[in-house]
């Protein structure tokens, strides 16, 4: 991390979706704001206080809320967003299952749900419904459509265990 001439600006280094970045950031810029500024618009701003999970990304493989983190805190870390889930034109099994089973309703919470689920499946490839519910307990869906999200995560986990392409995460 390097302090720029103006004291509030720093240069950080981080990896986003496997690519290296060295952005200048303000001391008060949130990770969420940085990611959206870098055109990663899957990451959503909603509550801004860590209550809803719409801004969830993976930080070194673990799901966290990017609105509650400052960009300088991500210096030296690795971030994954929904843009990093798919491989080329091929969607991640979680994305496929969400689409096929109709898990998104309005879709605003979906990126956060996907990243929370991706974090779960990387540690637990065969979760129970209860474990999926716990993993997405910090992700609020205003449409209240949780059942199909759980269905989709369970379906994606099964496909990934059967080797149907693990996607990028």
């Amino acid at each position: 991390m390097r302090q720029r001439k103006r004291e509030s600006i720093l240069q950080i280094r981080l990896t986003i979706n496997k690519k290296p970045y060295e952005p200048d950031v303000a001391a008060g810029e949130t990770l969420l704001e940085l990611l959206r500024r870098l055109d990663l618009k899957s990451v959503k701003f909603a509550c801004g206080t860590g209550n809803c999970g719409a801004c969830t990304v993976l930080l070194d493989g673990k799901p966290v809320m990017s609105c509650l983190m400052l960009a300088p805190q991500a210096d030296g870390r690795s971030v994954t967003t929904v843009e990093g889930l798919s491989t080329g034109d091929r969607l991640h099994p979680l994305q496929e299952a969400f689409l096929e089973l109709g898990a998104p309703q309005c879709g605003f919470c979906t990126p956060g749900m996907l990243m929370a689920a991706a974090g779960l499946l990387s540690e637990n490839p065969d979760p129970t419904r209860e474990e999926v519910r716990e993993a997405i307990s910090g992700n609020i869906c205003r449409c209240s459509g949780y059942v199909k999200v759980v269905d989709a995560v369970i379906a994606a986990a099964k496909r990934m265990r059967e080797g149907a392409g693990g996607g990028n995460v």
Binding site: M1, E7, S8, L10, A26, A27, G28, E29, T30, E33, G48, T49, G50, G53, T56, L59, K62, P63, V64, M65, C67, L68, M69, L70, P72, Q73, D75, A116, G119, E134, A135, S137, G138, N139
Partner: protein, 282 residues
Amino acid sequence: MKHFRQYLRAGSLEEAVAIRRDVGPKSLYIAGGTTVVPFASKGVDVLIDITGLGLDRTSDHGDLISVGATTRLAELLHADMRMHLPVIHKAASAVGSPLLRNMATLGGSLAGIFLPADIGIALLAVGARVYLTGDGQRAVPIGDLLAEGWLSGYELITEVRIDKRRPGRGAGFAKFGRSAVDIALVNAAAALEVSDGIIRTLRIAVGQTGSKPVVMAGPGLGAEGRDVTRDLVRELAEKVAASVKPKPDSRASADYRRNLIRVMAARALADAAAEAGVDLAD
């Protein structure tokens, strides 16, 4: 964009404390950031990152477990913790969502403005010791820290030490929130020592979220020397509820909170007795 003007990564404990001492109340330590980022007052200009100081290690010292202050709450949820300190495991898993637990740290949970955090209530009941660095180092029973008004000046929590469970001892934790991820309306924890079915020591901590946690010990409750029975648990829970003055807020009236305190205290006590090996069958 938050209002912070400067973000400094401390290279050592001494440096962190020196910066905080120099800058004063316009600075704050930051680790997980889940409280500082959304809630730090507008007067805070300078953040001092303490995550690079090696304060994120958990170590087993035989009779006790030492947990570094910047350990994430999610990192407390491992098999060793479940075996040696089930009450800490339970309280840590009650905090927020997995997303929050991947970020929030143990030290931040104790130093932050959201007292009483679930984990702090459990630590108050089991009588953890908190290690601080400021002008030199000191170790303080967490109850004393509560009495002092928690942290003042530029002191920094470095470590928390907790005695492992032992035969004849037990601890329990109970929380009530509107949903699984809500901040508690009321939380309670109890720790007791039993021999021959009789309570030797007892400590109960209650957090009502609108005010400071309240800690009550055996003598004040008239618990020591009594047989552990379901009736005693009920009686003690009534006493706890009667001696706490909960505050009303937008989430709960004082009466509702008092009722919850009674129920949560009874649950925490019953769990503590069970862990100490007492069969509470009527």
